[in-house]
Symmetry: C2
């Protein structure tokens, strides 16, 4: 395996790094981390025949064809699966699971593989179960706003479909072009507009999921209210495929706004970022749909990666804020936004800014925030943290982290969702460096725990963070989760090594 | 027990009925329904001493003092408990539960006892656990909008408290003056503004609950995003105290609107009710906070109960609609509302209407909708149904029901939450009448199931509806619920005979 020196100095030529990164051989997860294969069966020729009889011979992938599904989007984890199956229907998913459960074959369900904690790639030789052929949008009701679709529908494609009926999907995130709604539900993806449209625990009305033993759990209500027994579907939201495989989803879609506005603002201090937030909440009220921030270090990552083609349209500043509004009356929204900007500029909270004058301009402004994760990958290895913290100390953590890194890291950036108290703290280096990791962990989790934050706000725990659960959850809670896991998946075949620590 | 003729004719003198109702001896639940006491221990003198040592002698109620907690608000169910305990702290709740679990004493937790399915009153001699002394609002953060409080805080009182910090509780319902937030969470109460502020599954950020064995489950996050492991708190939302006793809640409160408007409209047909809804969604967009309806039969119940003191301020009409807006700019809201009313009246969807000119007037308009449940109780016995149905067939069910009732019932009314597809179908008669009941059930549940609706939209199943679960949930789902119940409460001591059928 090609290796640079143990830990390169920062500010390498970006072009060099990009070229280098593409060549990088991703270390095997099983080698990088101390993890032992579970007591599962291994795939035989007969198993392959059975899979082929269920999904058809074209939809059982083997060997090299499975490579892409073994490595995560960040290229930080690599499994060793030799088989991936692509069912078309819930019935096929059910048959595969029933068979795997009887055979004690471990299964790793995978949606768009855009997760950031290696939750959707195998660790050892789990059977990869791809939902990508389940792409039917079955129903969109323009009056109630409810859409029903299969799990493999790509988020952006679902959004495009419901827009024809005057609706939007309540969820929006950078990976929308590849991520699938089943994966979004399984990871309880948060995204850019949670502030306005709430979490999936509120907007997902129903879920159909296949349990480890093949049982089809039909909780696919399309009613906004249904208080008949325990709300089982909630357990599939955010459990990362460890309790069941989401096969269909019913989701409440808000009306498509008649007017969308985006402002990109320069803000001199963290205190002022919070002042702008408070002011925007008051002046924009019900039309605010997003309130995001990035720091100047995030902006620099864009500018030293010229092929990213995102440019800062305003003067340099320690912080930048993206405010978006969704409203039903353009004139009212204009007036509210104008009032909010006047008020924040008048008080000196904002020093410069621009408002998108067209849809294209709005998208360009959004890309400054949305494409940071992508820009960061050009640096080489990215240490990603996604934490919830109280507003007042949120950026102190970024500053302290940067200080800890000294010259070791290429960069330390902070960006994220102010509206949801959600910070994305990212550190990059040309390649994985244990020294950096030791400075980051468990320091960061301890700080987060100390402030009653969450060590994973929206990314989930997946493989990489499952041992961090105790920084945000009590032993009693984790024990209860382990008991639930036993009920839903007695043989522990569903997405093993992920989300919660295995029970003894 | 005093009894009128088996089934009285409708339109009795209301005053007579009120007087009669007050005298009504409520039949024992155990006598009216075929239900067998579970294999629980019975309270002894020693148990009482232990309870007294935990909560203090003043807070263990016995005999006559327990009467009020044995009967539900609707006076349709009556338990036989001889003991109620009133803990002050989570620790005391935990000690009581640990003791009861060891002794196999059944426990019925009770909040404000405003539930409509007899979920909060004992069936036999369960120990009633009252949360009414746990009334501390511990924290309100005006920036994040998060409030943390104990379970016994009355909803209206919590709302009053958070309003001081410019916030409102996202939940509002007719019983707000008595219901407690812990009970609201345990029943997943929906209410009048779910349309705007979403369900408690989205707005409750954290729950502290005590399990059957006394374990304190601390899932009391105050962060809007927390994806660390399974979202256990969701299981306590809507499980009616059968999986754990909610002791503390953290809830996201939206900003207090600067402008509140209420319109009360006369609408000639059901089709027009839906037309007005569609139009209001478009014109009012993000400021619409409620869209409710009542039929003329609901209005008549008010007028024949003059002591209710609610009067129709507009012309008689087959249907009435209440539209409320919550906004941040009064001028904008006025303009939007004006436009919406002009559009709906211009198209003939609305024939008459009034807009509240003051806070008092707005409250008066609201009371026409909010106090229907109360007015109905003056008729004697009320058969209450709370169902989710697709909009287009929703009122057909009311019409068909009225026809089925013929002369048997005093009245058959339909009202509810158009925005949430939630119909309250109510039938009254001077006293409980089996003939009526046999015409209502299972006909209504079958119709609801046939249209993929929910047999309990927001009231829960409690005691009275637990056997109806199969009309809205599959056998597989109910089996899974029974397995969860076993994990959380192996001895089945928590609120027995409720919510889900007991497993074999």
């Amino acid at each position: 395996m090609a290796r640079l020196s143990h830990c390169l100095q920062p500010h390498f030529s970006p072009v060099h790094l990009v070229a280098y990164r593409r060549l990088l051989h991703v270390e095997l997860t099983a080698e990088r981390y101390a993890v032992k294969r579970g007591p599962f069966a291994s795939i035989t020729k007969k198993d392959l025949n059975i899979f082929q009889s269920i999904v058809g011979p074209d939809h059982v992938l083997e060997g090299k064809d499975v490579d892409a599904f073994n490595t995560d989007w960040l290229r930080t984890a690599r499994g060793q699966s030799q088989v991936a199956v692509r069912p078309r229907t819930t019935k096929e998913v059910s048959e595969i699971m029933r068979y795997c459960n009887d055979r004690k074959l471990a299964v790793c369900p995978q949606g768009g593989n855009t997760g950031l904690c290696a939750g959707s790639v195998p660790v050892f030789d789990e059977v990869v179960l791809l939902l990508s052929r389940m792409t039917t949008v079955e129903k969109v009701d323009p009056v109630s706003g409810v859409a029903v679709c299969e799990a493999g529908v790509v988020l952006e494609s679902l959004d495009r479909t419901v827009r024809r009926d005057g609706l939007i999907v309540p969820l929006d995130l950078g990976a929308k072009g590849s991520c699938q709604i089943g994966g979004n539900v399984s990871t309880n993806a948060g995204g850019l507009r949670l502030l306005r449209y709430g979490s999936l625990h509120g907007s997902v009305l129903g879920v159909e999921a296949v349990l480890a033993d093949g049982t089809v759990m039909d909780c696919l209500s399309t009613m906004r209210k249904d208080n008949t027994g325990y709300d089982l579907k909630q357990l599939f939201i955010g459990s990362e495929g460890t309790l069941g495989i989401v096969t269909r989803v019913s989701i409440l879609c808000p009306p498509k706004p008649r007017s969308v506005k985006v402002a990109f603002l320069a803000v001199p201090t963290w205190r002022d970022v919070l002042n702008v937030f408070r002011s925007a909440k008051q002046e924009l009220g019900e039309i605010m749909s997003a309130f995001e921030f990035l720091d100047n270090h995030s902006m620099e990552v864009h500018s030293r990666n010229p092929n990213m083609k995102v440019r800062n349209p305003i003067g340099a500043s320690p912080f930048y804020v993206v405010i978006e509004t969704h409203g039903s009356n353009a004139a009212h929204d204009d007036e509210k936004l104008h009032q909010a900007l006047e008020s924040t500029m008048g008080q000196g909270f904002v020093t410069d800014g621009t408002v998108g004058a067209s849809e294209t301009q709005c998208l360009e402004l959004w890309s400054l925030r949305e494409r940071i994760a992508e820009s960061l990958t050009h640096d080489g290895y990215c240490y990603k943290y996604d934490i919830s913290l109280p507003h007042d100390i949120m950026y102190d953590v970024v500053l302290e982290c940067r200080e800890r890194m000294g010259n070791l890291a290429t960069t330390t950036v902070g960006y994220g969702h102010i509206g949801d108290s959600n910070l994305h703290l990212n550190v990059t280096s040309p390649e994985y460096c244990k020294e950096i990791m030791d400075l980051l962990e468990p320091w960061l989790q301890e700080v987060t725990g100390k402030h009653n934050g969450s060590v994973s706000a929206e990314h989930g725990l997946g493989f990489k963070k499952k041992d961090q659960i105790f920084f945000s959850k009590s032993q009693e809670a984790v024990t209860q989760m382990q008991l639930l896991k036993k009920v839903f998946d007695p043989n522990s075949i569903l997405n093993p090594y992920k989300t919660i620590p295995a029970s003894e």
